[in-house]
Each structure stands twice: as C-alpha cells, then as structure tokens.
Symmetry: C2
Subunit: 157 residues, 2 copies
Amino acid sequence: MQSNTACSEEERYKVRKLEITDKNKGFMELLQQLTVCNSVSDNEFQKRFEELKLYGDDHVICVIEDATSSKIVATGSVFIERKFIRSCGKVGHIEDVVVDSSARGMQLGKKVVDFLADHARLTGCYKVILDCSADNKAFYEKCGFKEKEIQMVKYFI
Amino acid sequence: MQSNTACSEEERYKVRKLEITDKNKGFMELLQQLTVCNSVSDNEFQKRFEELKLYGDDHVICVIEDATSSKIVATGSVFIERKFIRSCGKVGHIEDVVVDSSARGMQLGKKVVDFLADHARLTGCYKVILDCSADNKAFYEKCGFKEKEIQMVKYFI
C-alpha cells in the first residue's frame, strides 16, 4: 500500500502561476541559471510583480514548485502581443524558460512550454514564438515548434 | 529661391506615433505588404487602437506619413517587456516593420527602426530584439543589430 506521504511525479511537479512568495522559494536563483540575474530587493521584486499583474492574462509567468522541497524548479513566461495584422490578431511570446539543473530529465521544461503555449492559444493567439540557441532547438521541436527566422539583437549596455 | 511648397526629404518623411485617423491614410494597406492582413472595420480598428493606448510607452507603433501625398509609407512597432532577470530589466521587441514598395531606397526603414530602438533605449531597455528573414539580415545589420539566436514558431491556425 502506498504511504500517504508518497507523492506521484504528477502531484509533485504541478505548473502554476508565479506568486509573490516564490522569491523566497528560489525563483531568482533559478533565473540565475539562465542568464545574468543579480539579486533584487524584496521591494524591487514586489514592484515588478505588481507591474506585471496589471497586464492580467497578457503577461503570465508560470513556475513548477517541487511539492517535496517547496523549491521552484522550473519557470517560463509568455506575453501576448496585440497586432493589427491577421484581422487584429494576437501573438504569444515565450521568454525565460529554465529548469533547475537538479531537476532535468523529467520533462519539466516541456510541461512549462506546453502550459505557456496553451495559455497563448486559449487567449486567442494565432501563433506563439520564442528565440533559442541552436543547442535548444531539438527540445523546442519536441514541444511542437519549428524553426522560422533569425533573431537579431542590439545591446544598449 | 525655393518655393514655399517645396519640401526637403527630411520634412516630407517624418516619423511620428500612429494616430487613429491613419486607417484612412493607407495604414492597413501598408501592413498588407508585410503579411496576411485582412481589412478590419473602423470599430475593430478603434478597439485595438484603444487597447494598445492603455499600454502607453510600453507599446508604441510609429509611422511615416508622406507629407506630400498624406499616405502612410512606413511603419513599425515596439513593445517593452518587463523581466525579473538583469536586475528587473526591460527588453524592447520590434515587430511589423514595413516600407511601402513605392518608397523604398530612401532609408525610411532605417528611420523607423532607429526611432523604435531609441524608444526602447530611452524607456530603460538593456537591449532591443527582433526576428527577421535571412533576406533582411543585412538591412538590420546596417541598423546596428547582430544575429543572435534562432526564432521558433508554433501555429494554432
């Protein structure tokens, strides 16, 4: 018989929207595995959190909290761009997807990307796009994406 | 002596923000040169215009109106994404840049892209990004951009 404290992988790693208390569960440390991400004060975090909240469904950050350790082990975001083309269509832009190095190989990245793509579809987007390195192309192909264009960048700092 | 009606190229092609009356100056027809862009009703246009206005400086569409013909001959948009990475940094995303086929070769595309990139810089972005075809790469390099990553897409319809 399974013990009450046992927890299936499905129950252990659920996707949900970012909550303000996630700062204390390793959310910023997780982002540091993605790119340059200096620590921010609680005030700065709260300010940005509130700003993003104003966008409602037009900007969603999701996380996976490990129910066993209460640590954030995966995240990603999507924002919805409103256009005039495609009969005033909408496009989802996926950004900042990362899985904790200790939690890889469990399809958590796919879970995050599927959640964000579903959100874009359900809010009426005709497509969802993202930029990735050549190394991550195969992963996004498994998530149903295809290579389309070239990403160009101009840095200010 | 120059006539009063004469107009330098600088005066003839000024960049400004989209106005609601631009629908009657060929704005949608210009977008049709970029991609699938069915005509939209005045009501649909107004609704989308008002939605975008709510974003203020976080979503700007600029146009170049030919002062001689009162026709919109170039456009592009930028929206500002607020992040937690890079000390709660911001990134500008440039989209939907197009120059009327009759007005090419006058650097109007560069004028639009410079305006949008300047907007991103002035609103505090640490970088501005865009996706383009391989054919347009050289143009964006002239605008100060460099190739970075791969754009991936998933279509819903």
